[in-house]
Amino acid sequence: MSLTTLAIALVISVVGTFAAGLVALWPDPRAHRASNIILAVSAAFGAVVGIYVATGSNVSLIVPEALYPVAADGSAHAWPMFYGMVFGLDRFSAIFFSILSVVTVLVAVYAIPYLEHYAASYNVRSVNALTALFIFGMQGVLLSTNIFGFMTFWEIISIASFFLVLADGTEASRKAGFLYLIITHIGAGAIMSGLFLLSGGALLSDFSVIALVTPELPEVTFSIALGLLLFGFGSKAGLVPFHVWLPEAHPQAPTHVSALMSGVMLKIAVYGFLRVLLFMLPGVPMWFVLTIVVLGVISAIVGVLYAVLERDIKRLLAYSSIENLGLIFTMIGVGLLAGQEGSVDLTQAALYAALFLAASHAIFKTGLFLSSGVIIAAVHSRRLEAMGGLAQRMPMFSVAVCVLALSAAAMPPFAPFMAEWTFLQAVVGALTEATPMLKVALVVILAAVGFVAGLALFAMVKMFAIAFLAKPRTDEAAAAVEPKPGFLIPIVVLAFISLILGLFSPLVLNKIGAVDLAPADLGTQVISTGGGGLAPLSLFLVIAGISLALFLLRRLLSDVKFERSYQTWDCGQPTTPRMEYTATAFSAPIRFFFRFFLRAQKVVTATPLTPNNPWVASRTMSLLVSQVWYDRLYAPIGSGVTRLAGLVGRLQNGSIQFYISLILLALLVTLIVAL
């Protein structure tokens, strides 16, 4: 494909998204379907462009140049509008662009039946329009090549997602949206100021100006800028301790928007972070790299621990996102650390593992959120304790969710396992030749990633098993039926992509540029790094072959017709579905083993029903898990700010003379300072 074709397709993709937003506002009832179909089609164009650019070796697309190439006399046609913003796609942003587009296609298909089902709770027109605006913003961030464009579209993302979190109008949504708005805007301000410092004030220039300015900056300014950028991008990506908005905001948004936020928006933050960082290497100070690693490890551990404890399915998935983003930041940090300490193999492996994990996380997290939407629509509750028995009633759906849950737990042969394998193998391979500081760091990281992987399996098995297996715990769950194709097809497609991405991961890695990791002379069948190799396709074939052999052997050795159905062994007494294990019970050992950190408290409140008899009472038990950063960090800051605001409010005492004296004081100060 020529550059012109690609550029046209790209423009169609972006303009199509905007057009979908406009169509959604039309008062016709068919506008809902039309808007989502336009969104899906334009995202498909975007996917094609993104995949082509990501896998092509020398393709780099700058839109004005591709559409209006430089004339023979040297005069180029620039786009006079947009304040000279230039839009372009290089290999790095194309990886994220293809993730965004593929996910958008499937989410748009899902949104059609989803919003029709929930037409009473949401204002469908505004949700569709805001979703299109949200995606438009994300596309813009990925396509912007200068800082001003980046920040503009970043703000579009924040505002659109804020309104989407508020979409169902409940009190919880308002609180969650408010928290989200505050943190995301402070973060955006931090990013803006950081970029301002790093670019020396030239906001309308390309990102490459950062590479020119940073060597000249004084140490202090550089450190402040780095800290601001870490806070800004980290808060958007959900790094602990800036993550408090994530478990509140993601469950409150409509489910397909939660999928987009968790699957793609967090990756946009990773993209922004890497984009800025790539221009600053190799001058990044050691404390910064270590901070990334430490925050990544803490996020991963905290995310997975709280995912294990959680009983609300969407909050569980939100904490799982925090865990995966923590792992991605750990891998990025280790890559940078290895680069500074001279282990080059580990750098490449860790960075590509981070990118691959980001891509596979987008796939499975979107799939899991979309399936949680289906489950919630069937069971009318977000609590895991209200579900159950869905595997009998929705067999095809439950198989797809099982595949997605196993990929979330980083099990072979799915894609996230390949990313974690690459990272762990590279770490082990680099241990021998590493400098002492790197050795210590790598050992700690090995232990931490192993711990996180184990508990991630726990959380995903808990989610799948309590939601789908055994008998239904409520009547609504008992009445569930196989979901409509509009719901089912995107989820099955995502499960399938997760499998294919895993099986063909060496090919994918080779195509996106990791030629050392997945050498072409081995037929791009093997990922080899750090002294070990993994051939995903042959591993899968061995496991499938063993299962097939066992199946045939069993049919040979025992009589398959000799079967009978009977109730579960219940020790002779009738059991009800309420006696099955609940999510709280399943995670009780972990709550007990980590009680030092989690401090789960059981609070029993008894309200007497009659005044004379205190023993006849209605009792409520709540299980509270403490969140240390909320109590020690955010609550004091919040109350401090409120107190400060109260103090400042005393200035507004309503007396005109006081106000005039304040104006006079300001005038005096200005004159003194100016002269």
Binding site: R564, Y566, Q567, W569, D570, C571, G572, Q573
Partner: protein, 178 residues
């Protein structure tokens, strides 16, 4: 225990266990002839060389239960005959039912029998299980075990000693093998 005594035990056999012929060679057996269904079950299960037992107390006086517990100790050692006790009727090949079937446990006994995969033998242990014993015709009792589920082997006694239980079961298995 020193290693020498340990190895002595391992290679030259234990000194506490009663010899096998106490239970396998019986002359004064007053059990009925083994039915055809027992024969077919045992011959299907490889001659009954490894059978797993689930004990169900359908309302006994616990005397039979204590005798059953004694079967596992070092003197009687039911393990060496290939018989072992299991925790769930789904795993069981034999059901040992003790006590007359009380009304409260009738449903549980039936559920246990239904849960056990066929082919499964039912052994009624003790007078209460075989005929109802001293609780026969009581208002709290449904009847002997055969009133609820089909019985294949009966071992009378109140309670039957572990020797009697073992002799009864092994006699049934040996007769069915021939």
């Amino acid at each position: 225990m020193t290693l020498i005594r340990l190895l002595n035990l391992l290679f030259f056999g234990p000194k506490v266990t009663a010899p096998q012929k106490n239970f396998t060679e019986v002359k004064d057996v007053d059990f009925e002839a083994v039915g055809q269904d027992v024969k077919s079950v045992i011959q299907k299960l490889y001659g009954g060389r490894s059978l797993r037992i689930r004990a169900v107390d359908a309302g006994s006086s616990n005397a039979e239960e204590i005798e059953l517990t004694a079967l596992n100790n070092a003197y009687y050692d039911i393990d060496r005959f290939g018989l072992s006790f299991v925790a769930s009727p789904r795993h069981a090949d034999i059901l040992f039912v003790t006590g007359p079937v009380t009304r409260n446990l009738e449903r549980a006994l039936r559920t246990t029998y239904e849960a056990a995969p066929q082919p499964c033998l039912v052994v009624a242990i003790g007078d209460g299980a075989c005929t109802g014993g001293i609780w026969k015709d009581s208002y709290a009792v449904v009847g002997p075990v055969e009133a609820v589920i089909p019985v294949h082997v009966r071992i009378p006694g109140d309670p039957p000693s572990p020797t009697a239980i073992l002799r009864g079961v092994l006699h049934a298995l040996q007769s069915a093998r021939t």
